[in-house]
């Protein structure tokens, strides 16, 4: 696989050139935080960031997406017939995605792509996207990727990986997609042994910088109903305000709602992110709600991530350790603490 080295100026120039092959998304500073935006003349990519406030999941799985369209005009022959909306699956590259967020796509995949059903939108957008990761030289204090199967330079789910060596970027292709990306990238030169060595050292040092360790080893063997009936849920849930911050910021939360919207005679069926934190999520037409109480919804979120997913897919926990929910929960509900409680029970 190709391994190249770019000065930082060359790299920005290379990205500009890549725009004719890909829609390039880069981290951009937007007020107090960073966010992924399409690269254009006005945007300055800023690779000097901890992580983006919102996860890049929306690039594969938008918060709102028109999935079908229809007309209600009875004078047309196809009135009331639901039809697929046109979609753009032209190649996209997310440059600077953190390894935890790329790992998250792998965690999410079995939900949308399994032997029984395939979600056409998630899969086609995922497959048309090239993920060029940026290793974390200085992981944050709330990062715990190494506890959940990832790492600051983990290659899981990535097509290529960037190493920030100071004045230069070392980039390694990891998959065919990554290889194609580098083939299209102008400039740079082949990485020499010194650069490769520097990259390795950086990765080793970064892994040691992760102080946060959580234990997930015992979750698999726990009895689902015993964890469900554990005594700590009321205390865990008390402060929760049942907003959607944790689920919307999370790179591995995938729940959605489907809604119809009509303007005059033209309608769309729209898929929107939804959240297990909202009471409406599970409210039956009859008025019955199996998760009417806050504590039930909080328990669902943690049980889903740390037990149901574990049991269902045998693919670790449904968490990539990015720490967004830890940092941004308005009520400071900390998945690291809840995970300890569950693992210890």
């Amino acid at each position: 696989m190709t391994e190249k080295i770019y000065t930082k100026e060359e790299w920005i120039k290379a990205l500009s050139g890549l725009k004719s092959f890909y829609n390039i998304f880069v981290p951009v500073r937007d007020g107090d935080f960073h966010t992924f935006k399409a690269l254009d003349e006005k945007k300055i990519p800023d690779f000097n960031f901890q992580n983006t406030r919102l996860s890049p999941k929306s690039l594969v799985y938008p918060q709102s997406e028109r999935i079908f369209a229809y007309t209600l005009d009875e004078d047309t022959p196809d009135a009331n017939i639901i039809k697929e909306s046109e979609k753009d699956y032209s190649p996209k590259a997310v440059v600077g995605i953190r390894p935890c967020d790329a790992h998250a796509f792998q965690i999410v995949r079995p939900n949308f792509d399994n032997p029984e059903y395939q979600d056409p939108w998630w899969i086609q957008r995922y497959e048309s996207t090239t993920l060029v990761g940026l290793g974390c030289n200085a992981p944050g204090s709330t990062c715990f990727c190494t506890s959940v199967g990832g790492g600051p330079f983990s290659e899981k789910g990535l097509d290529a990986l960037l190493y920030d060596l100071g004045d230069t970027f070392l980039i390694k292709a990891l998959t065919e997609k990554g290889e194609a990306f580098l083939e299209n990238a102008q400039g740079g030169k082949e990485a020499d042994d010194a650069a490769l060595k520097a990259g390795e050292d950086l990765a080793a040092k970064a892994a040691n910088k992760i102080e946060q360790k959580i234990s997930i080893d015992k979750l698999k063997d726990k009895v689902q109903t015993e964890l469900f009936d554990a005594p700590f849920w009321d205390d865990v849930a008390f402060a929760c305000i049942n907003c959607g911050t944790c689920t919307y910021l999370c790179p591995t939360c995938w729940c959605f709602d489907i809604q119809d919207e009509v303007l005059e005679k033209q309608g769309d069926r729209i898929r929107n992110w939804d959240s297990c934190m909202f009471p409406l999520f599970t409210l039956h037409g009859s008025g019955h709600n199996p998760r009417a109480k806050k504590v039930q919804r909080v328990r669902q979120r943690f049980m889903h991530k740390l037990k149901y997913y574990v049991d269902k897919y045998n693919n670790g926990v449904q968490c990539s350790g990015c720490g967004r929910c830890v940092r941004n929960c308005p009520a400071n509900i900390d998945i690291r603490e809840v995970c300890e409680l569950m693992n210890r029970l």
Binding site: I67, F68, Y70, L72, A79, N80, I81, I82, E84, N111, F112, N114, E116, Y117, Q118, D119, P120, I123, Q124, Q224, T225, F228, D229, W254, C255, F256, D257, I258, Q259, D260, V262, G267, R269, D274, C276, F281, T282, L283, H284, G285, S286, P290, R291, Q296, Q300, M303, H304, K307, Y308, Y309, D311, K312
Partner: protein, 280 residues
């Protein structure tokens, strides 16, 4: 790529008002594209999403049997936005159906056994599908005795009245129709709650499987009756209801523990449910 969210276009072929309160109607649908009917190959116990442009979708158990060709039927209770709109639609209107979805009653296990069917209120729909399926000449010999306990609040609230009367006349199915109460002097069947009638009529669990569908309160009181007769939890089969959207195990709302009611269910044995979180 096959799109599991895209409904098949259908036309409403016939609408029958089932109950005296007019809240339950049976809709018979015909596929606009005959090929879609082949693709929509189902087994009794499954459900589908009824899909109305501009309103959304509602998951409903399939009331027809795969042995009934040329159409599929659903009996729909008027509760929410989609079902209320559906009740206002008329024959000839076009809408969509997405499915078939979910699992089905354990037909392979039931083969060669006595079958006990217990239904209450409007949850009788997939049980109708099952009865029609079993009574079909090609299938009847695969099952031993078939007993049915079916109850509603009063005679006017029973579904499929003509078929019930017809089944009563047959000798290859034991019908025990009941109502909670009635002031009809001509009522010729049972009076009493479903659990009570079950206790009187279902006296043996030998080589038998019971399928139970009905309101939670009925299920709650029927369960101990069946266990007392000797049905083990593995042989008591229930069909659950949940709020659903996608119907294919992706949208995340209808889980009980790590099982999705839409994809891993809606049919579960009592034995399975006893090992799942009590959250439904």
């Amino acid at each position: 790529m096959e799109n599991p969210y895209l409904p098949y276009p259908v036309r409403i072929d016939k609408i029958i008002t089932e109950t005296e309160d007019r809240n339950l109607k049976t809709f018979r649908f015909v596929f606009l594209n005959p090929k879609d009917e082949e693709k929509f190959s189902y087994t009794p116990g499954q459900f589908a999403e009824l899909s109305i442009a501009g309103k959304g979708e509602s998951p409903i158990g399939i009331a027809s049997s795969p042995t009934e060709k040329g159409h599929i039927t659903f009996t729909v209770n008027k509760v929410g936005l989609v079902t209320t709109h559906l009740h206002n639609m008329k024959e000839g209107d076009v809408m969509g159906i997405r499915g078939p979805l979910g699992n089905w009653y354990p037909w392979e296990e039931m083969e060669g056994k006595n079958v006990v069917i217990i239904g209450g209120g409007f949850a009788f729909t997939t049980l109708r599908s099952s009865i029609i399926y079993m009574l079909h000449p090609e299938n009847r010999s695969r099952f031993k005795d078939i007993s049915v306990v079916y109850g509603a609040r009063n005679p006017g609230m029973l579904l499929y009245k003509d078929e019930l009367a017809e089944w009563e006349q047959r000798d290859d199915i034991h019908m025990h129709i009941t109502v909670d109460g009635t002031d009809d002097p001509d009522w010729k069947y049972n009076v009493g709650f479903v659990p009570t009638i079950t206790e009187q009529k279902i006296t043996s669990a030998d080589d038998a499987i019971a399928i139970v569908c009905g309101p939670p309160i009925m299920i709650k009181f029927t369960q101990p009756v069946l266990e007392k007769v000797g049905f083990s939890p593995e042989r008591i089969i229930l069909s659950l209801e949940m709020r659903m959207k996608c119907g294919i195990g992706m949208c995340g709302r209808c889980n009980i523990g790590d099982k999705f009611v839409c994809k891993d269910g809606p049919v579960f044995s009592l034995a399975q449910l006893k090992n799942m979180p009590q959250e439904y």
